[in-house]
Each structure stands twice: as C-alpha cells, then as structure tokens.
Amino acid sequence: MSRDFDFILIGSGVAATLVCQRLLEANPLASILILEAGERIPSRDRRSWWDLVLARKTPYSATYDDDSTKSPAQESFSTGNVSWGFKESRVRAYGGSTMHWGGWSLRFKEEDFQCRSRTGRGADWPFGYDELEPWYALAEQILAVGGDASDEGPMRSGLYPLPPYPWSAHEAELANGFDTIGLKPGHMPMARFKRCVTTGTCKYCPIGARYSAQDHLDALLFDPAHRNLGLKTSAPVRRILADRNLVHGVEYFDAASSTFATAHARQVIVCAGAYESTKLLLASVSPEWPAGLGNRYDQVGRYIVTHLLFSVEGTRPANPQSLFQEYDFPTLMSRSWDTPQRQAEGKMFVFNNRALPKIEFENLMIQGKTRAQIDQIAGGPSRAGLSAFIEEFGDPQNRLTLAPGTGKFGLPKTRVSFSRRNPERFLAVVSAAQDELFKCLAALGYSRDTQAKADPRGDHASGTCRMGLSPDASVTGANLAVHGLDNLYVCSNAVLPNAAAVNPTLTLAALALRLGAYLSAGASQ
C-alpha cells in the first residue's frame, strides 16, 4: 500500500513528538505518518505501577537490548578495548526512552558548541549556543522543567517555568560538604508537571507527571483538529527509499498485515534514537548510495560517544535522624566541574546518589527483623554517595555499525566498537575526581568505602550522524538535513557533535522544536 504524506517521522520518542507538535501548530491538517518499531505499552496503568512498587518490575523491560553473550538471541555486540553496555539503556516502544527516563533536563553550555576550537578535541557545532537558546527555553516550557535559574549554568533569557524541588535533608547536608572541594551546589532541573506527587517511581510514573512522549503524542493524536496525523506501531522501517538527492518514502514492515509496505512522503525525518537512526541510514543502500544514505565519506556511525558514570560512597557510624531516600531521585547537583577550564580533559557533571542513605523497611520486615532491630538499623551506620558523568570525545575509530541479522522488533542488530587511545590517562582523570569527591564525604564524617566506574552505556549514545559544515567530516548540516539529500533529516542524539557533560534529552528537545519550525517555514513556502 502506498500513500503520499507531507511528512514521515520514524520513531515516536521526544524528538518525533516535538517535531510533530511544531508541524501541527503551523498546519493542523498536515499529513503526518509516524512509524514506530515497538509496541504501545500503556502508561499510567495501575497494575504496572503496583508491579513496580511491589516487585521492581517495569512493563517495558522486554524491549531492552539483549546483549548477553550467553544468549542465542543476542542482538547487540561490543568490540574495542572498552566494553560498551547496552543493558537497560533504551526503551523500544511507543514513547521511546521517555518511558523510563528520570526527567533530568539540563542545557549544554556555551563552550560545548565550540569544543574543537577550544580544545582541539571533538567537534564544533555548526552554530552557537545563542542560536539554540530560545529553543531550550521553549523545550523547558513544554517539558515543564522545574529548576533554579540562579544555579550555575549557561546564559538564560528567562526563568524556569517551574520552581525546583527543594533538597532533601540529606542533600542539604551534602551541599554543605560541596564547599570543601569548590563545588557550588545546585538543583537538578527536572521535567515534571505540576501534578508530581513525588512517589519516586519515575521509571513508571503512575500519573504521568514525569514528561513522557507517549502521553504528549497521544494528546496530539486525539486532537480532532489533527485528522491527518497517523501512527503505526510494530512498524519497523527497513529502508529509506531515495533517488539521487531526494528521498521519496520508506519501506516498513506492517505488523497488522504481516507484509512489507511502502509509504511515500515529501519529507522524511528519522527520530529513531542514536542507534536506529544511524543503522537505518547504513541499511538504506542503493546504486547511488552504496554505503548507505548520507555516507559518501564513510562518516555515518563514526564518533560514537556516551558518558562514563563514576561514583564514590562513604559510611558513617550513625544516622540519628534516620534519613533515607525520600525522593528516590536526585535533586542536588553541581556544574562547577562542567566548565571551560576542564573542557580539554573532559568536563564532569556531579550529582547525588539518589538511592542513599538506603533504609528499606519492607525488606527488613520480610527478613524477620524485630521492631527493635529495625529501629537500631534505622539509626545506625548509613551510607552516602556522589556520582558524576564525564565527557568523552568523538574519535573516528569508534563506530556503530550493522551486525548481521535482525533482533527484536525486526530491527537490525547493533555493533559498537569503542576504544580509548589513552585509557590510562583518562582513567587517571576519573580517579583524581573520585578522590576529590571523597573529600566532600569525608568533610561530613563519612569514611571512604567504595568507588566504581561503570562501563560506558548507551543511554546517552550520540555523535553517529553528527552535525557539521563539511560532508567529509559530518553527516548532517546545521538544519539536520543529511548531507547530499534535500529532504531527509535526522533528529536524534546521533546528530550531536559532542556529548558535553550532561544528558542530552533537553538539547534534543530544543533541536526538535527548531527543526519543526524550519520544516514548517519551508512547507509554508
């Protein structure tokens, strides 16, 4: 079956949703087809929420990558001298990874847009922070971000739409320790609507308070004014169809009819996350594009980066106020190490370990502890922790490619090859930072306990279709159009030239709103 649409959007996460919103604001009758490879997993389902509270189960865990080397169904592979983690890093369902994200919504900083000019590492964006600032402000409005505009951060043209969460008692005490190591404490900007009731079950919010693209896209779909907006789930796109410099549609698997179908459109926007956006370009091979769309210079898939998460924990002998994880999400953070001075070595974003101090009364009761024993534990030794992301830089040797075969949802399997050229130096920077963070805990009476460095994980994977001015060093241009094609765009973390120090979701949201406005202006002409 073929049909003409104005736009086809591939993916249904925050990027597709915000592009779609802008297109519909400009023209409510715009003909838009959204194709999502995954299924609809209902949000705000009571049973699913109770399963999370009682059994720590989430309804979307089956969509996670299977990267186990012991599994015959392994679909994600890691090579290189650094192990790349896929586990639990993305949700492949209607709404995308906003089904499980924590809502942290930070802007990149001014220097992140000039990384290569300033440090000789990474890449420059094809435009500066000032260009994106108004879109950041709009994204914060739409995602309902609460924060403190007086906290450290980039220049802002206005306040946050909502006030920040107050620090918990434990976090306020940690904030006092920040002075010891020159960190200025701030409030984690969070994408939560006014109706948040702080259940701490953000991984599956029972009332849709934490921003979810599914809830947002549902509102757009259910609006009777948008009668030409359609969504297909269980519809993985296998190929984008192009003739020379023009794409004319996509080929996808239609689960409803169990057949391959073709949909035609004037513009195609790939909003399928860093992995799938990249793999789709690579898979869209034709005589004119033998290495995949936009890949004349073998740039598609290169420069993959993410954040390494490192942490420290300490213990002190007593917890007289029996403080524990009342929020179960962090509200204390600092961007004092996210500065131009640290950019060459990798900027860092510091935040509280939201799970500590941990007192799980229910587990103690299930284990048969008496009231006296539980009271003693609640006032006894307690732990605190600090965590941080560190920025890494795109390297052409690191790349995302197609692995043979298909995995879940009919999507091609994934291979990431990630290596560090100077791992000892990088890990020494991380260790030094961990030593600094321990000083903060020590100032509060905690003795050094554990420290950890997690493998890089795909939650913040980016760079594989990076923006740039030159087609021989980038895949997309300043307006996210794929080089060499007039009507194909990528809008996912894949386009980010740098990872910066913070998670990319708000930046992606800003880019999506900007792209939607650009496409609307073009359509109106």
């Binding site: 009682l54 969460y165 620090w167 009731v197 702080t198 259940t199 079950t201 029972p206 029996s322 929020y327």
Partner: protein, 164 residues
Amino acid sequence: MSTPAFWDEPLPATMLDPPASPLSNQEIDALWGLFKAIAIHWSLDIEVELLRSRWLDMLEARSAGQPDFRGEYGNAAQVYTALVTTLGEPAAIAKIYQDTIVTKPEQALTRLTHAKFYVANDFIRCFVATGGFRAFVPKARNYTGFMGGSRFRAWPPVRTGTKS
C-alpha cells in the same frame, strides 16, 4: 501418621491458579486482618484504616492481569483464618510474620509459605509504601511508592534542610 495442619499442606512452588470468581467479602475481610496484623506485630503506631483504600487498590490491581493473584489471595485468606481459629490471633500473627521467613519462590512449598511469599510479603511492601514508613520514623515524609500530594503545597514533600 497425623494429618498436617491445614496451613502445612504441601503445594507446588508455582503460583496457584486463580478461581473463576472474584474475591468474596469474607476473603477480603480475612486479608484485611492479615494486613492489619503488620502494625500489631511490629508495634507500629499508625491508623491502619487510612491505608485501606490504597491497599484495596493494590488488591484489585493484582487480581487482574498477569499473574493473577486471586488464587494466592484465596489461599492466604484461608490460612490466616485457620491460624487465628486454631492458635488465636497473637500466635497466628507471630506464626506468619515472625516464624515464617520466605524470600524466594522455591521456598513456597506449603499453604503457609505460599501465603507468606505471595501475599504477606507484598502486604508488607504495600504497608510501608502507603504510609507505614512513618510509623518507624515519625518525622519522615516520603518513601518510594508513597503518594505525598502535590509538591506545590505549603509544606515540602520530604524532610528538607538548608545549606549552612
């Protein structure tokens, strides 16, 4: 060979199949007794009636979908009733919450251990999350799973502090 007590009758480790009918009022009353016993056993000074609506919400939610807990709920109601009838309430409560520790599904091999693992343990989790945590730490305001109300009320949803 003497007949085992009702609650010691053997069962397979897998979850019991749900019946065709919904839980009866009698079963719900028995299960509510099992839930209230948590406060009694751990000497928790809390108005348990305030937790009932959330507890009923949990019960209803877990009586549908997969897995359906009604088979286990029915068994737990029978076990608790039998224990109270035979041993008296204090001993029945101690039997379930003190003497019977089951933390893995493969340990649920009798009616009693089924009742503990699949029902009483969840009741404990529900009890704590819906407000029971405050009975341990009266000044605590929030807990994972607790619906504390809008964060734009006059008072904050968690214990707070200020940076000195």
